[in-house]
Amino acid sequence: MEFEVVIGLEVHVQLNTKTKLFCSCPTSFNEKENSNTCPTCLALPGALPVINREAIHKAIQFGTAVNASINRYSKFDRKNYFYPDLPSGYQISQFYKPIVENGYIEVNGRKIGIVRAHLEADAGKNIHESNYSKVDLNRAGTPLLEIVSAPDLRSSDEAIEYLKKLHSIVRYIDISDANMQEGSFRCDANVSIRPKGDTKLYTRVEIKNINSFRFIQRAIDYEVERQIEAWEDGVYEDEVIQETRLYDSVKNETRSMRGKEESADYRYFPEPDLLEVYIDDETLETYSKIPELPDEKAERFQTELGLSEYDAKVISSSIELANFFEEMINSGASVKNSVTWLTVELLGRLNKNNLPITSSPISSSKLSDLVKAIDNKTISGKAGKDILDYLMEHDISVDEAIEKLGLKQVNDDSAILKLIDEVLSKNSDKVEEYKQGKTKLFGFFVGQVMKASRGSANPQKVNELLRSKLS
């Protein structure tokens, strides 16, 4: 039997507002435990929530970026459960009427639905020691935007593409740092299978809190296989139940959460300490303004700058990369060489050292200087690679590097002719053979001239001048 995979993804994005969702405590991290707290986020008796307008702003920006409807009226609800990192014993979320609904993003030409995006308060942090746990509420109350996709994804590859696109959009509009390792971009996957062609939705299993794209893919793949196996072995009903499972990245498997009782009853009801949220026309217009999105940028790179679709997509895949590229172009570096030297040469070296573009030792202006030196033939392409390697390790300017490595390209005709004369006179027998018809020797002469110049002669000039000399 052939099976189809049905995947839906829930992503919690921590918004980069200055203050928390319902109080004016700072959201900044890495501070002494429980120092960024107040009666509201500590859930002291008598404390009350007040909504942060910037969180509403960022939610609306997101809705606009994913072609969604912005609900002019939305409201907050309480989700009730007990956990030490949830000081009030309920989370204020949006269950009945979220602020954003019915959007989509395009992934490889397919529209993946975004059912809703809603605001909710983050919980604090639990740190586990050997036989006790510690609770730090600095993070409690930080605004989260929970983004729920429709179960439209059909493979783990597609799921990762969706996540990357979503991540890119969130970074483009700058509503979050979206750092998976730090926990500002958290993904839960809902996975189910069905016989190919069947349209029913079968039991879905939730896999929670996996903190890298690679692990998400592996977790989904494992879970799909587990479910298919269960079906084929006739034990689907027993083995595959609606539950939450955790992914073990060491053993590469998903595991049932131990001691899980029947699904929690959250007793959602409208938050009585808040009134409904209303977005008027003026606010909607102002809050919907967003910068150019990845797809638009890619489109523009193709039409205005002549980039290929592939190159445009690579460069626009992250706002940092796109900004890097645009800075290079704006300072005068040629488009063609900028594309190559950024996407192939620099990224290649960064990837080898597991560095993201944001940690590049070479800034956009420095790479631009290098490209401009190649553009105006101050150095050859080969020399450029050597210089780039050197700059990865040494913090000096491009000019200084060229000087230091002695890689300045010789363009001067007379200097090159001098070298050509030297080589030809030293190899007069071969010149004779060439004139007799052994045209292959041309490459040999070029090589010798380049060698004599220690690679610094402009190869095109060498070609031109040698040709005219030998004719």
Binding site: T17, K18, T19, S24, C25, P26, K32, E33, N34, S35, N36, T37, C38, P39, L42, L44, V50, I51, N52, R53, E54, A55, I56, N80, F82, P84, N126, I127, H128, E129, S130, N131, Y132, S133, K134, V135, D136, L137, R258, G259, D265, R267, P270, L274, L275, E276, V277, Y278
Partner: protein, 95 residues
């Protein structure tokens, strides 16, 4: 509505508290009486009525994103809490 043992146990779980064993029967009866009474609302026709009561046609005030924090509050709450270590609240190991 009759509250039986099973329902009472479920409510205790949701409430994270337990009724003393000797009071269980009494509580079940008291809760059943209360719920039976409040079911009188079924005598009223409420079709089509709004389900959120509010005093006025206004909406939530939105606060500007400006930091205001008194670091002494967190400090004094932690230092006055039943169990703490350094600056964190301490609870039995969360499994």
């Amino acid at each position: 509505m009759v509250i039986d043992d099973k329902l009472l146990s479920k409510l205790e779980e949701l409430s994270h508290l337990k009724v003393a064993p000797e009071k269980r029967e009494e509580i079940k009866e008291e809760l059943s009486n209360i719920l039976n009474f409040v079911e009188n609302l079924n005598q009223l026709d409420t079709d089509g009525l709004p389900d959120k009561f509010s005093m006025r046609d206004t909406y939530s005030h939105l606060r500007d994103d400006n930091i205001e924090v008194d670091k002494n509050i967190g400090k004094s709450v932690v230092e006055n809490s039943p169990k703490y270590q350094d600056s964190s609240f301490v609870v039995p190991r969360i499994v």
